[in-house]
Amino acid sequence: MNAHGDTAPGDGGSGAAAHMVEQEAGLRAVDLATVFPGRLGRPAAVAVDRVNLDVHTGEIVALVGESGSGKTTLARTLLGLERPTRGRVRFDGRPLAYSMRALRAYRRRVQLVLQDPTGSLNPRHTVYEAVAEGLRIHYGTRPDEQELVADALAYAGLRPPERMFLRYPHELSGGQRQRVVIAGALVLEPEIIVADEPVASLDASVRGEILALLLRLRDELALSALVVTHDLGLAWNIADRVAVMYLGRIVEIGEVDTVLTAARHPYTQALLSVLPESPATTPTVLSGEPPDPARIPAGCRFHPRCPILESGRAERAGVAERCRTEDPPVLDGAGGHQVACHWAHAVS
């Protein structure tokens, strides 16, 4: 049924070890959960359900999942835009504090790039104002403001920067707008960028350019990035590690080269198999919609849609009962190829 799913690969831990540094990772989610209270008598929605994820310095991590998987909520929680209901965000070896002052300081060092560059720029602000905004928030009006803005614009690929200063967002193309947003983040010299679907609303030709820019930021400025996306091709293009999220939990994590070429979780395998260019002969199209975070199934959260369980292969491996009743252990998110699946562990 699934062409490359049967051969369970060896553990991909060796490649990941290179990225493991002695000191604590730059940005960490430790046992993080974010629950939105249910309204009008509905059950609470568990958008993020006990996630461990490290973003090391100089590393690009892709967080992949469908809409409703909680990937955007996880990103927002990591930025301090949502408060976790459990666990904590750690940055630079310290837990994130949620006082006004601490958050302000944090947000100088961790920057956000949103999906829709058109919406993330105030239509009444010029390019100059949009890029200088972060500087003004944190430092007031600086004498070298103009040089910093020009440098950031130039670095983001808008040259000559002076010609962009007075433009309004509506005078720019989609790719240029996203560069302005990135320049606005760069001007604060952050350590980490969290990008939520940075290229999803851009044209195919521009997409590559923006991704190349993110890659260049990592290579030249040692900037870490957490890229939230539903696009596995993007992960292959730029990421070092990839975390696959399903219903609020990371179900598979590891080096891009191992996870995407030898996926072990049936969900990752299915995602890969439906890509148009997939080597899998028969795509595993999961039926139905991604389920509701307000009603997370018991046992393994993927079991109602799991093709392995359905085809009886989990039965043969002797784990079918555990799939239905036992929640696989939470992954620690540090390094190495990890998978939260009874079947994958049983057959390896």
């Binding site: 930025l79 947000r107 993330s120």
Partner: protein, 302 residues
């Protein structure tokens, strides 16, 4: 695009941008003929009101010192006739514009400031803050303006300031509602999220992002409010709640009623201030509609 920018400082850049935006705005506004007519009329009325002390001897406006004949129909020396104290009605109407416009603008300033503040704060913070503020707004909406004004006039002195306060305190709720709705729409935009992630505080978001996006609406609202404030002032003056020592349009009509002008058919005494009120209110409304059209792209397309 601009040429010699690198040498300029940010402040100069901002000014250049503002000038350009203003020029664009003027081009759009000029295309609206009704708006241009309204603006022209307002400028003319404003100039006359400002220049009134040069045109009119204040002695002529005094009930005791006026020299004209009493209740004389329009003639060459008194183009709009005279009142029961022998004052020129034309002079009275011109002088009345000063009070009417002043009250109109001041009351509008008060109500727009209060309305925008309440609207933006309620829209930005939401939760119980919004709940409290909007209940207060609702309360003010149902308070009848005239009753409040009469009560205020009884407590405070009968002065122009009392009228300004009375109008200002009752006219802000619609502005607050409109501004709050617009604030909610702006707050949902991703650039607010981006600003927040950049580390922006409440004040920054409200002044840098919400206010500029709410301003056009407020501006259009302002011009429309001035018209109703002037009418409200006239009403209060007509009811005798105004300062009896100052000449205002509403006051003139009240005097005319007192002099029996309506039953006696003294049209030159009643009509001119009435027409003046209507003309100013209409001009402001025309301007306001034109502004709305220019500043709100959704209306512009129609």
């Amino acid at each position: 695009m601009s040429r010699d920018l690198p040498a300029r400082r940010p402040r100069a850049l901002a000014w250049q941008r503002r000038r350009r935006a203003l020029a664009e705005f003027w081009v759009e506004f000029r295309a609206n003929r009704a708006g241009v007519v309204g603006l022209g009329a307002l400028l003319a009325i404003g100039l006359i009101a400002l220049g009134a002390p040069l045109l009119i001897d204040t002695d002529e406006l005094s009930v005791t010192r006026a020299t004209g004949p009493i209740l004389d129909p329009p003639s060459l020396s008194y183009p709009l006739g005279t009142d029961d104290a022998g004052r020129s009605v034309l002079d009275l109407v011109i002088w009345g514009a000063r009070v009417s416009l002043t009250v109109g603008f001041l009351a509008t300033l008060v109500s727009v400031t209060v309305g925008s503040l309440v609207g933006i704060v309620a829209g930005h913070f939401g939760g119980w803050v919004a709940n409290v503020l909007m209940r207060v707004t609702d309360w003010f909406i149902v308070v009848p303006m005239l009753v409040l004004a009469i009560a205020l006039a009884a407590v405070l002195s009968r002065s122009t300031l009392t009228i300004v306060i009375a109008i200002g305190l009752t006219a802000w709720p619609p502005t607050a509602r409109v501004v709050r709705a617009q604030t909610l729409a702006v707050e949902a935009r991703p650039y607010i999220e981006r600003a927040r992630a950049l580390g922006a505080g409440h004040v920054h978001i409200m002044t840098r992002h919400v206010l500029p996006n709410v301003m056009p609406l407020v501006l259009a609202q302002t011009t429309l409010l001035v018209a109703s404030a002037i009418i409200a002032e006239s009403t209060l003056a007509f009811l005798g709640l105004g300062d009896p020592t100052v000449v205002s349009w509403g006051g003139i009509i009240q005097d005319a009623r007192g002099a029996g002008a309506v039953s006696a058919g003294l049209w030159w005494y009643v009509l001119p201030p009435g027409i003046a009120i209507a003309a100013v209110a209409l001009s402001f409304t025309l301007c306001g509609r034109a502004l709305e059209r220019v500043l709100n792209p959704r209306l512009r397309e129609r």
